[in-house]
Assembly symmetry: C2
Homo-oligomer: 563 residues x 2
């Protein structure tokens, strides 16, 4: 039950000439922004400053989840938004009715004309491993127009990056061999909380989702079988009317599959290895499993904890699975959704192995075990430590709501206006912005690991391979290091060129972004990536930029007077 085919734009490589579709969610409109973007736009316009050329950086200040890395997501949505930015007449009317009646008509004419043809967006490749303070996006353009983009851009990047990072962290703990399924739609923060979660969890390394709409829109593989309600909706095997099942190769038809299951259940009950483990199993559960197998003989996966896993769910599942096996079908496995998952998965594995041995059903011991009850990084880690036999994890609530840290604090700060570098100070030192239109590089060491990210002024010569460069902490004067890079990667590339004739990066399909993400994570030095007490990755500035930051800081900060 997987799908990869998809006719949607997001799954096709887009080159510089492709038209760019609108945002995934039709609710993303130029009005999906804070009111103050419009009041500021009016004040800029009134002051004749609205076309002043500005540069803004979008970045975050701290990695989430106590970790030392973040996965960058949301770029494609930002570009889709900007590519289709245009006010509708009814939106202009609403703004006119909302802003003070003293606002002049000319302003609304100006809004009506805004598109993003004079805006340029430089960004890090989506799916990259990224770090605090380094701009994820640099947006250049007329100050009033670019400010209107602030709220939607930050909205589109914040959650996307947060949930992709959460997915990557879950993958890290689960290990590469496990199947990871995102089951979060019902618990997500609203409908596109669910859609975004499915998209960005896949990007961050999950294998599949239960969300059908996300499967359709993004081509993500889909997974799912049945719920407890399906089990309880059956009263007993008597209600199964159509009992016939053709064998896998089509050669014979079993006219009474229900009886075949019953026969197997009796055999299990009196078998040497299982005797005494269970007595009467639940009949509604048995009927439900049998019906499900009749509907999906090739895809039989049963939820076994509706009544009692060991005394009912497991034996019922095995009876049906063995009956299927008689007809040449291979059952997929079971799902556990409550109780002690370590213990129950081990019991289930023993059960399967005992059956493989006693009844000589090759491979039955390897029947897949999926677990899905309120899992998160900590419970996965605990399961690993206890030992378990789970093959696949279905993860919902904690993954998609990013329960352990529900927000990433991306900000959007003015760094240049009219070619003048600007700094924002703050009562909180950590909130001081890094001024200047910057170029950003990742410097790699001899063993292939990234060593440090460095920001320089726009016109500084780029770091060169095999040439020593001094990397400075942006705010702490004593923290500095010489680096001799073996490889230099420029991080910010043009993704929206406006009317300029610059080369524009293509928007890769989701699968490629996912591949990049997995590859980038593999490339990092392991101590940056570990779950507990990871080593911070270094983020630095050039000496020239360091000096400028501190010159501007002293210049703008008023001198105190103590009396």
């Amino acid at each position: 039950m997987e799908t990869n085919s998809n006719a949607n734009g997001s799954n096709e490589e887009q080159n510089s000439f492709s038209p760019i579709h609108g945002p995934m969610n039709p609710m993303v409109s130029p009005l999906l922004t804070d009111l103050y973007q419009f009041t500021m736009a009016y004040a800029y316009w009134k002051a004749g400053k609205h076309l002043d050329r500005a540069v803004f950086d979008l970045y975050f200040r701290k990695n989430p989840f106590g970790g030392e890395y973040t996965i960058f997501g949301g770029l494609e949505e930002c570009i889709r938004f900007i590519a289709n930015f245009k006010f509708k007449e009814e939106e202009i009317s609403f703004l006119r009715s909302t802003l003070p009646s003293t606002c002049e008509d000319g302003f609304f004419d100006y809004l009506r004309g805004i598109d993003c043809s004079d805006v340029e967006v430089y960004a890090i490749c989506e799916g990259s491993v990224v770090f605090p303070k380094i701009p994820l996006l640099r947006v250049e353009g007329p100050v009033a127009a670019v400010q209107l983009l602030e709220t939607p851009f930050v909205n589109l990047v914040n959650y996307a990056s947060l949930v992709a990072t959460n997915a990557a962290r879950h993958r890290f703990v689960a290990g590469k061999s496990k199947l990871l399924l995102e089951f979060g739609l019902r618990r997500a923060q609203g409908p596109d909380g669910g859609m975004s979660a499915s998209k960005y969890c896949y990007m961050g390394g999950f294998d599949a989702t239960s969300n059908v709409a996300a499967g359709k829109l993004f081509g993500i593989p889909l997974r799912g079988t049945h719920s407890h309600a399906f089990v309880t909706s059956f009263m007993g095997p008597d209600e199964i009317v159509d009992k016939a099942l053709r064998s896998s190769d089509g050669s014979v038809t079993c006219e009474d599959f229900v009886s075949l299951v019953q026969t197997w259940l009796s055999k299990l009950q009196w078998s040497n290895s299982l005797r005494g483990i269970f007595g009467e199993t639940n009949q509604s559960e048995l009927a439900a499993f049998t019906s499900y197998a009749l509907a999906f003989p090739n895809n039989f996966l049963a939820l076994v904890d509706t009544y009692d896993v060991v005394r009912s769910g497991l034996p019922n599942f095995c009876a049906v699975a063995l009956a299927l096996s008689d007809l040449g079908y291979k059952a997929v496995g079971i799902r556990l959704d409550s109780g002690d998952l370590a213990y129950l998965s081990i019991e289930a594995r023993k059960f399967f192995c005992a059956i493989e041995k006693e009844f000589n059903v090759t491979g039955f011991g390897k029947t897949a075990i999926t677990a899905s009850n309120d899992l998160n990084e900590e419970t996965l880690d605990a399961l690993n430590k206890q030992g378990h036999e789970v093959d696949a994890f279905g993860i919902g609530t904690y993954l998609v709501t990013c329960y352990s840290q529900a927000a990433l604090g991306c900000v959007f700060k003015l760094v240049v206006i009219n070619n003048q570098p600007r700094i924002k100070l703050s009562e909180d030192g950590s909130k001081v912005s890094i001024p200047c239109k910057k170029r950003c590089y990742r410097l790699y060491g001899r063993d292939g690991y990234p060593l440090v990210d460095i920001m320089t002024g726009e016109n500084e010569p780029p770091p060169k391979v095999a040439e020593r460069i001094l990397c400075r902490h942006p705010f702490n004067e004593s923290k500095r290091a010489y680096v001799v890079p073996q490889h230099v990667e420029e991080l910010l590339n043009c993704y929206w060129r406006g009317n300029s004739d610059k080369a524009r990066e293509a928007l890769p399909p989701l699968k490629k972004i996912r591949d990049r993400c997995i590859e980038q994570i593999d490339q990092m030095r392991p101590d940056h990536m570990r779950r507990l007490n990871p080593t911070p990755y270094k983020v630095s500035v050039s000496t020239k930029l360091y000096d400028l930051i501190h010159f501007l800081w002293l210049n703008e900060a008023p001198v105190g007077e103590l009396q």
Copy 2:
């Protein structure tokens, strides 16, 4: 800058005959559900059970945020969804390509025909105070169709109820006299995380939002002024070209408002009460404030922490405010977005009062102070304890992402099929469902407070005023109480009647839901509502229902055998 006018359906009272618009978010479609709803639907169909009449309850198991109450939100969206439920041909094609190829054509014909004309939805009034285990919605209809509704219904109710509850809790701590502004769009979990947050925070007692799209769609009052970037985008007062400002009454024009501001700044600098507090203020900030005042002389509210609140932001604000005052305008106030909000708000208040006294500007001491830096229940509580002078709170991240508990665990459980009550057991006792098609009542005591909610079987006589009734804990046999209600409220009413001719409740406009919410909260006994260690509100079942639960439980649970 407020708006209440709105042409959208959600703001009009809808009666039984009004057409019901589709969901707020166009992404809410019949495919926005878990794959297993379709695999189950196929298995039901294949077993000839798909039209079996089922009853499902949607409820949650535990109140969020360590509290003892929840606000119910999301009903209108569920009804909008169900009222417009219909598969598109491309959706059917996608399902056909996704499900195993063995699925028969007849099933897709069946899907094609599904609408919700044979479904009925009973629900508690949106905006009500609600409690665990009591169904928020009871959904009746053909089992396969109703299962398809599970995921979207749970998705639409979970976050709506969670964030409305969070808003109510913030209102509780802030007190009724404060203005509460929702500023969360940029940090919300995706675009309609933001839209839903704005809607349901308003419902839960907030006064306004910064989210323009939500203002337009829901008629929520809008608020906002300017950001740090606006301040840093100015270099100094020299760049202000158009310096003229007409007085409020239109009688005179001040040709050089910039000079008037400078004059006031000098006066402040050398005034008796403020001398020595500040020296040179930041000139880009002064220019920004002056420009903003020129654009919005009636709505001058300035963000004062870009450089230094006391040494720059406050004096610059006051100089502009006093210049405005000379021309008959009254400045609105300041916003603090960093630092020690208790201390800074008190300093600002002293500053304003000193100016009122020294320069005899009536009312200047009462200039509004808005605070907005990473606020949550705890910081509001701490501010209250320290003492502060804040009049309005702008709350974002912690409010909209429900940071302290990012999910509410609503579930959707089968309770009846073909008139047979069903129970779902579990390895976790707390996950056992309450079987039966139920009626639910809230019983009120002599002093007007709700005493207990009680669930009964469908055909039991309802509790009567002044008649003693035994209320039992559903699972704990020793917990029971006799109650003599002074008033009995039936909680579940029909909101979607399908093709039946039952009376249908109208969908009230958001403002009415908000009024109900505030009224319901006021009506609760205060010890249930307090922030720390609140008293649990009692949720009970009738004796008859108690007996049935335990009969079914014993009936379905297999008996263990220990050896």
